[in-house]
């Protein structure tokens, strides 16, 4: 009998020791649902079908990039399991897919879900569930609101900061400008307009001589341009999506209106705007950007660009390199990998948001030189710098310094 008790005592001591050992080990490694020693589950929602399906390429690029990361051994030894669903840009479907990801697939967080209406639909849900909605793919300013929505963070420069940058430049270089604004009548256009007004401050009322809006359903915006010209403005703020931007540039040339022309970054594409509008009509237009343009020969010998092209060739050969979506997906995936590395073995949702909010001077080589990603507890706008560029010949030429503007939601 005593021998048996002795054995039992020894066994229980051993068990206690094991328990102690595992508890210290788990003190270093902390996980929430969706993360384990071997895997990090990431959810994503993209419009692979429906009206915005052109953006689906962003999700496919991200999947390819995570495959590359997994082939290279993963993040701190953990493989990324990237689950991407289609919502066809329909908000009710986004809610269904987000709930599927969070409650059924049990992902650690949702990453880079696309579009303002779809993300608005799950904004409240994600925050009440306390599941990160990280680096959303929309430029609306409301994602930068850490006080009310601490589980949501944007990524790209928001619309307001872009026009703020134009306003800064105008106040410095052309303080007596008379500005005519053409904007799309929706949240995107209004966000841009607000940034411009905020940037001009007290002078906004005197400097802006006309605000003209158009609907996406209008076949042409020619009449708006004629109206804007009649104000005698010498600065034209062109807040339009690609099709209308091209029309505006062409019409300006036709009726001989030659103001200082600012074109928003949304339409600063050589292929879909400047070329159809005619290169000769687009000379000296000013815009702003934060990513390297793949079609720009200036980056031919750039190491970062070579790396991107090599990645595309090896992991996503069917993807269109010239489509801006691929380089966006590549850059945002790199930012996420950086944040996940920074999390170390503490893969809780809380720590993920904490690390995402403490990125210091991070650069992916897809960004223009000088632009850095910075976040803080009160700054949920990762990229808030842009560089101005002017259209010369058949491409954009960067000029001036990198300008920053941080705007909260």
């Amino acid at each position: 009998m005593p021998a048996v008790t002795g054995k039992l005592a020894a066994a229980s001591l051993a068990l206690a020791l094991i328990a102690a050992a595992t508890s210290t080990a788990s003190a270093q490694k902390k996980y929430d649902t969706g993360a384990t020693d071997t895997e990090i589950k990431i959810g994503n929602i993209m419009p692979y079908s429906g009206p915005a399906s052109a953006y689906g390429i962003i999700g496919r690029t991200e999947a390819a990039y995570f495959k590359k990361i997994n082939d290279e051994g993963g993040i701190n030894g953990r493989k990324i399991n990237y689950i991407s669903y289609d919502d066809a840009y329909s908000p009710p479907k986004t809610v269904e897919q987000a709930r599927k990801l969070v409650e059924s697939d049990e992902v650690l967080f949702i990453f880079n879900s696309l579009g303002t209406p779809p993300n608005s639909a799950i904004h409240k849900y994600m925050n009440s569930k306390k599941v990160p909605q990280l680096f959303v793919a929309t430029g609306a300013t409301k994602w930068n609101d850490p006080q009310n929505f601490p589980w949501t963070m944007g990524w790209q420069p928001n619309y307001q900061s872009e026009t703020q940058i134009y306003a800064k430049w105008l106040l410095k270089n052309k303080p007596d400008a008379k500005i005519a604004v053409l904007f799309q009548n929706d949240d995107y256009g209004k966000d841009y307009l607000k940034g411009l007004k905020d940037g001009l401050g007290a002078k906004a009322a005197s400097m802006i001589v006309m605000e003209e809006s158009y609907e996406t359903s209008e076949p042409t915006i020619d009449n708006h341009i004629v109206k804007l010209k009649s104000t005698g403005a010498d600065v034209f703020m062109n807040i339009t999506t690609p099709k209308f931007a091209a029309q505006a540039i062409k019409k300006n040339a036709e009726i001989g209106w030659k103001p200082l022309h600012f074109l928003n970054n949304v339409s600063a594409s050589v292929g879909s705007v400047m070329k159809p509008a005619g290169y000769e009509n687009g000379q000296d237009i000013i815009s702003a950007d934060y990513l390297k343009d793949v079609s720009d020969p200036a980056w031919n010998n750039d190491a970062g660009m070579k790396e991107f092209l090599a990645f595309m060739t090896k992991y996503f050969p069917e993807g269109d390199k010239l489509d801006k979506g691929t380089i966006v997906g590549y850059a945002v995936a790199q930012t996420l990998v950086h944040v996940l590395k920074q999390c170390g073995d503490d893969l809780t949702r809380e720590n993920l948001m904490k690390q995402a909010a403490s990125v210091k001077d991070f650069r992916t080589e897809a960004l223009l030189p000088g632009i850095k990603i910075n976040t803080g507890p009160n700054d949920f706008a990762p990229i808030s710098q842009l560089q101005l560029e002017r259209f010369k010949g058949e491409r954009w030429e960067l000029f001036g310094d990198v300008i920053s503007a941080d705007v909260g939601g």
């Binding site: 692979y48 079908s49 429906g50 009206p51 689906g56 496919r60 991407s84 669903y85 289609d86 066809a88 840009y89 329909s90 908000p91 009710p92 809610v95 269904e96 709930r99 599927k100 969070v102 409650e103 059924s104 303002t116 209406p117 608005s120 639909a121 904004h123 409240k124 849900y125 009548n185 929706d186 949240d187 609907e215 359903s217």
Partner: protein, 338 residues
Amino acid sequence: MSAVEEVVTEAPAVEAVPKRAMTLGTGTSLLVLAALIIMPIFVKNFIIFQMTMLLIYGLAVLALNILTGGSGQFSLGQSAFYAVGAYTTAVLMEHFEVNYALTLPIAGIVCFGFGFLFGQPALRLSGVYLALATFALATAMPQLLKLNFLEHWTGGVQGLVVTKPDAPFGLKMSQDMWLYYFSLVVVIGIYLLAVNLLRSRSGRAFMAIRDNEIAASAMGVDVALYKTLAFGVSAAITGIAGSLGAIAVQFVAPDSYTITLAVSLFLGMVVGGVGWLPGSIVGAAFIIFVPNIAEGISKGLSGAVFGVLLFLVIYLVPHGARQVAILGQQLAGKLRKN
């Protein structure tokens, strides 16, 4: 007159469905009901949410079924009524703090008025022309919701966030489960009303118009009144489905109610079987789950896969779920004889 018009009037796309064939037998109904009541206890909240959406879309398909299967009129504009219902609820809940349950009848009444009024000009149209007129309504709706002077109420493109109700009377039930049972009660109520409506004098009038308008009017049916009435009833039910949808999804935005939704509902009706009310829920299941299956088969080609699946269904069972049910019944009858 013109050849086109003759073709349209001579070949009615909606075949006559006898009214007894429009519903399920009592035994089967109770079985389905029991399954719907018990199921949520065993599944995750996410599945309950999907089932709630199934009921809601089922209700919207049912509404279209009354219009098309009952009175023989086409509509590709159901998404507009759905949107009006959803926005009525969202605006009442968020701006006027009206209880969610009270917003349902209000949405129903608003949509009834809207549908009845729309039915007036639609009277002059039939067949494909009516389908086109309603199509125009569906295309216009998302834009109307973005209008500047409505923006204060509708939130414009940003939409409105709706607060999900908690279970009342201190019931220990998740919000999803409560909403499911709430929707279930509403849907069953409306289903029973719809069945009774089609069995009533008015229902017979609807069907008489569907089968032969001239004969119906010769029998003394007020064709104009009943046609607009059918539109009104259908719009009211769609509107209630819309308000339930707004509460379940917790968000309304113009992009939620595009023409795609109208086409989906139409598709749901055809797959479920035109004129067969229980088929509505089968049709709803098709439009909710088959896109997910298609996506699982191929992400890049989900649309194409969905098309192939839809084609197979239409090719193999052109009368939708009704045909399957009838086949099943015949099979069961044979087995019993043996």
